[in-house]
C-alpha cells in the first residue's frame, strides 16, 4: 500500500481547528524557532481513516483468526472490559491530581488497591507494585528489588541463574540490573538440570529466575528442591509469570517459596496486546522484599485510599505514575467478571485444549518431551526437516490457511521449535480445524515438501527479503 505521505496533497488538513493568530509567532525570538519544515503529511480525515482502516485489514488478529502463538496467551479479549475501561471518568483524569487531592481520585485509587489485593491472592504474594509496563519491565524491577535486598543485607552478589530455556528478556533484564548470568541446561525430561544447578550455585548468586510452567510448557518437577537450594544461599527466587494462565487456583508461587513474581496482565488477564503493547508487568513480592517496593503505593486508611511515598528502603520508581493504568483497569474488570470459578476454569480449559491438540498431532511430529503438558507445548519440526521443511515453512503454510502461526524457534533449546498455545477461549471446532491442517502439513511434507516451502501464496505480500532489510537500511518513508 501507499504510505500516508504518498497520499499527501498540499494544503489539506484532517482536523477542524479554530482561528489562530499567525502573527503571534513574532513574539518568539527567532533563535527559539524551528527553521526546518515540518515533514508531516497533508491529508483529510477521510484519507486518514481509509488509509489506516485498509492497513488494519492486512493484519491477523485474535478477533479475526485463531492465534496459537506460544508463550503469548492470545486469548479472546472480552469487549465489556474494553468498553468499561474507556469511560471518560477514567480517561480524563490527570495523574498529578492524586499528588494533591486524593479525594478527587478515590475511584481509581480503589481500583489500583483492589487489583493489587486480588493479584496477591492469586499469586500468594504479600504486596504488588503496578508500575511495570510490561513483562520485561517487571523482570528488571524484580532484579532491582533483588539488588536492593542484598545491599540491605550486606550480601555481595554478582550472578543470576537462568535456565537456558528462558525467554531472552530474563538474561537481558538481569544484565540491565547489573548482574552476570549463569546458564543452566534442561535435563532429558525438560526440567532444569538440578545436578548442574548444584554444581554452579554459590554464595555470590543473587537469585534464580524461573518460568513456571517452563517455556517448554512443562511443570518444573524439582521446583521445591530448587527453591530450598536457592534459599540456602540467600538467593531469591524469581517467578516469570508469563505462563500463569496454566495455574490459576492450582498453585500460588508465593505459597511455595517464590520471593518475586511478574505477571503479564496482557496474557493471563486478557488485556489485548495492541500489536506490541501496551501491556502490564505488575510485580508481586513476598514479605522479605516488601520494604523495597517502588513508590508511591496505594494504601487504605479509615476507608479512604491514599498514596504512601514512605516505603523504608524503596528502590524509587520505575514508571512515571502507576503503570499502564487503563491496562490494570481492564484486567481488574476481567477478574471481577470471571470470579473464582471462572478463573479456575480458565486454567483448566487452557490446559485441556493444549493437551487435546498434543494428543491428536503427536504421532505426526517430533515431541521432544512426551509428557502431559500445561497450557502449551513445544513440537520440533525435526521429522519434517528430513524433507527440507523447516518450522518457519510450517508457520507460513498456516498463514495461508488463515491461522496465525505458533511461536517458532523459541525456546532455543529445541531444534526447529514450534510452540503451540491455544488458550481456553478457543472452541473444540477451532482446535479440530487446526489439528486437521497440522496433520495435512505433516503429510504434505512427506510427499510434496515444496508445497509447504512455497507458502504463503495467499497473503498481501509473499516471503520478505530480511537480509536486504538489514543490509540496505530503509527505516523511514520517502517524502
Amino acid at each position: 500500500m501507499k504510505t500516508i505521505f504518498e497520499n499527501s496533497i498540499k494544503g489539506r488538513k484532517g482536523v477542524i481547528s479554530g482561528e489562530v493568530n499567525n502573527d503571534l509567532i513574532k513574539k518568539i525570538d527567532e533563535k527559539f524557532l524551528r527553521k526546518e519544515e515540518l515533514s508531516l503529511p497533508e491529508v483529510s480525515e477521510l484519507d486518514v481513516i481509509r488509509h489506516y482502516i485498509n492497513l488494519s485489514k492486512l493484519n491477523f488478529s485474535v478477533d479475526t483468526e485463531f492465534y496459537p502463538l506460544g508463550s503469548c496467551t492470545m486469548k479472546y479479549n472480552p469487549k465489556v472490559c474494553e468498553k468499561l475501561a474507556s469511560r471518560e471518568e477514567f480517561l480524563n483524569l490527570h495523574p498529578f491530581l492524586s499528588y494533591i487531592d486524593e479525594d478527587s481520585v478515590q475511584g481509581v485509587l480503589e481500583i489500583i488497591y483492589e487489583i493489587s489485593r486480588l493479584l496477591c491472592e492469586i499469586t500468594g504474594m504479600k504486596k504488588i507494585t503496578t508500575q511495570p509496563y510490561a513483562g520485561a519491565h517487571g523482570e528488571l524491577t524484580g532484579v532491582l528489588l533483588m539488588a536492593a535486598y542484598h545491599k540491605a543485607k550486606g550480601n555481595n552478589k554478582k550472578y543470576i541463574i537462568i535456565p537456558d530455556s528462558a525467554h531472552g528478556t530474563n538474561p537481558a533484564s538481569a544484565a540491565m540490573g547489573g548482574y552476570s548470568i549463569i546458564s543452566i541446561p534442561v535435563d532429558k525430561d525438560g526440567n532444569m538440570d538440578v545436578n548442574i544447578l548444584k554444581e554452579k550455585i554459590n554464595e555470590e548468586v543473587a537469585g534464580i529466575m524461573m518460568t513456571v510452567p517452563s517455556t517448554l510448557g512443562l511443570f518444573e518437577k524439582n521446583i521445591k528442591e530448587i527453591i530450598e537450594l536457592a534459599h540456602k544461599y540467600d538467593a531469591l527466587m524469581y517467578y516469570d509469570g508469563a505462563n500463569l494462565n496454566a495455574i490459576l487456583g492450582k498453585l500460588k508461587p508465593g505459597e511455595i517459596g517464590f520471593d518475586i513474581i511478574h505477571i503479564n496482565l496482557h496474557k493471563t488477564f486478557s488485556t489485548p496486546h495492541g500489536g506490541g503493547g501496551p501491556g502490564s508487568g505488575v510485580v508481586g513480592v513476598s514479605g522479605k522484599i516488601m520494604d523495597f517496593l517502588p513508590v508511591p503505593e496505594v494504601i487504605k486508611e479509615n476507608e479512604k485510599f491514599k498514596l504512601n511515598f514512605n516505603i523504608k528502603n524503596s528502590i524509587g520508581s520505575v514508571a512515571s505514575f502507576y503503570g499502564n493504568f487503563q491496562v490494570l483497569l481492564k484486567a481488574f474488570i476481567y477478574i471481577i467478571l470471571l470470579g473464582k470459578k471462572g478463573l479456575i476454569k480458565v486454567s483448566e480449559v487452557a490446559v485441556l485444549n493444549a493437551n487435546y491438540i498434543l494428543a491428536k498431532i503427536k504421532s505426526y511430529y517430533d515431541v521432544p518431551y512426551n509428557r502431559i503438558c500445561m497450557h502449551e507445548f513445544v513440537l520440533s519440526a525435526r521429522k519434517q526437516l528430513k524433507n527440507g521443511v523447516h518450522a518457519i515453512d510450517i508457520a507460513k503454510y498456516l498463514i495461508d490457511n488463515k491461522i496465525h502461526p505458533p511461536t517458532v524457534y523459541f525456546p532455543l533449546v529445541v531444534e526447529e521449535a514450534i510452540m503451540i498455545e491455544p488458550t481456553e477461549t478457543e472452541s473444540k471446532q477451532t482446535l479440530d480445524e487446526f489439528i486437521d491442517i497440522m496433520i495435512k502439513i505433516a503429510e504434505i511434507s512427506e510427499k510434496e515438501p515444496e508445497k509447504i516451502k512455497q507458502a504463503p501464496l495467499k497473503t498481501p505480500i509473499l516471503r520478505v527479503d530480511e537480509a536486504k532489510a538489514a543490509r540496505e537500511l530503509k527505516l523511514k518513508c520517502d517524502i
Binding site: 486518514v48 485489514k57 479475526t64 487503563q326 527505516l475
Partner: protein, 445 residues
Amino acid sequence: MSGFIPHTEEEIIQMLNVIGVNKIEDLFLDIPENLKTKNFNIPDGLDEIELEKKVKNLAKKNRSDIINFAGGGYYDHFIPAAVDVISSRSEFYTAYTPYQPEASQGTLQAIFEYQTMITGLTGLDYSNASLYDGGTALYEAIAITVRTNNRSKVIIDKGVNPLFRKIVKTYSINLPLKIIEVDLKDVYTDREKIKELLDDETAALVVQNPNFFGIVEDFEDLFIFAKQKNISAILVFYPVSLGILKTPGEMKADIAVAEGQSLGLPLCFGGPYLGIIAVDKKYLRKMPGRIVGETIDKEGRKAYVLTLQAREQHIRREKATSNICSNQALCALRAVVFLSLYGKNGFRELALKNFENAEYLKEKFSDIKNLKIKQGQTFNEFTIEIKEDAFNIVKELIRKGFFGGLPAGLFFEDKKNYLIISVTEKRTKDEIDTFYKILKEILKG
C-alpha cells in the same frame, strides 16, 4: 460452560477421552499435591449488568469534570475522534507484535510511518517502534551513550522532569553509573555550572526544552560545547511544542526523548503513555526496541519487516541493547494517526494555539499584585510565584473545579511558592477568564 469458554460438558468429556485421562484434575498431576493451592479467596463472578454497575460506581468516585491547568509533562490536549476509531480496530488492538510479516503488514507499515514522523518532528535520523514512557526512554538514551563511549558519569539538569530523573536513578542503583543533577538558578538552567561539570569521564549531558518550569531555551551552544569533549547531548522535548520550536536536530542533539502522551493519548491516570526516542545515525545500532524496515518480498513488492534484530533480547540475550520486548505499539499507532490528522499545517497551528492561550492567561495575570510571572520565553506552560504555599492554593482551586497547576514544592523544597501552569488548546476563553478570576480572588488581588 460459561463466559468466554465455549466448551460444552460433552465436548470436555470427548476431549479428555482423546487425551486418555478421566478428569481435568488428572492433567495437573505434575504439580505435587503438597504444593497445590488450598484456598483461593476470590469473590464470585458477576454478570455483565452487575459488572457495569460496579465499574460505573467506581468511575463516579473520580472528579473527572475538573478543568485542567496542570501539565508537568502530561497535558490535556484534544483528541480527534478518528484516533479512537483507528485504535479500536480489532485488527490492530488484538494483534501481537508483528513477528510474521505476511500476517502483519498493517502494524508494520503504521510503525514505519510513525518512525518517519518522529524523525520529521525531531530533525534526527532514526526512531523506533516506541518505548514505555518518557522516563524509561530517557534511561535508554543514557544507556546508549554510556555503552558507546565507555564513560560512567551523566550530568542531568534539574530542569528535566523530576519523575524522569527518579526513574533514571532507580534504574542505576546496581550499576557503576554516576548521576549528577545540576541545580537550577531559580527556574533557569545554570549553564556555567554545567560547563564546569562536563569532563572527560562524562558520557552524556541531559537537558529539557521547555524545562519543567516551562522555560524555553536554545541549547545549541551548550551541546556544541559538550560534543567538543566527546560528550553526548540528550534533549528531552515536548512533542507538541515542536510545531513551532527549534528541533533537537537543529540544536545538534545526539539523542532526543519525550513523553509522547500529548500525541493523541488521554491522561488516563498515568497510562498507557508513549516513550519516544530519536537518534543521530551514529547510534542506530545501539538503539533499543523494535525497528521496522522496508524491503521487498519474493516478487519484488514493497514490504515491511522488523529489522536490525541482532540488537534485541530474543537474539542477543544478556548482550542485548535493552531488555524491552512488548512496547507501547498501540499508543504509537494513536500518535501516527494524530500526527496525520493535524498534518504539516495543523500541527503548527496546534502549537501556536497553545502558545496563544498561555500568553493570554499570562497577560490577564499581569494585574494580580500578589503574583509574579517568571520571566523568559515560554510555550504553553509557565511558572508564577505567589506569597503562600502553592499546594494550598491548588487544593482550593480543585474545590472550585479547576486543577490550577502543579505546585513546584512537590519536587523542589525551596520552591513551595511556585506554581506551574499550563494552558492547552482545549481551554476556552471562558474557562481561562473564570480561572483567572477565581485565582485572583483566592490570592486577594
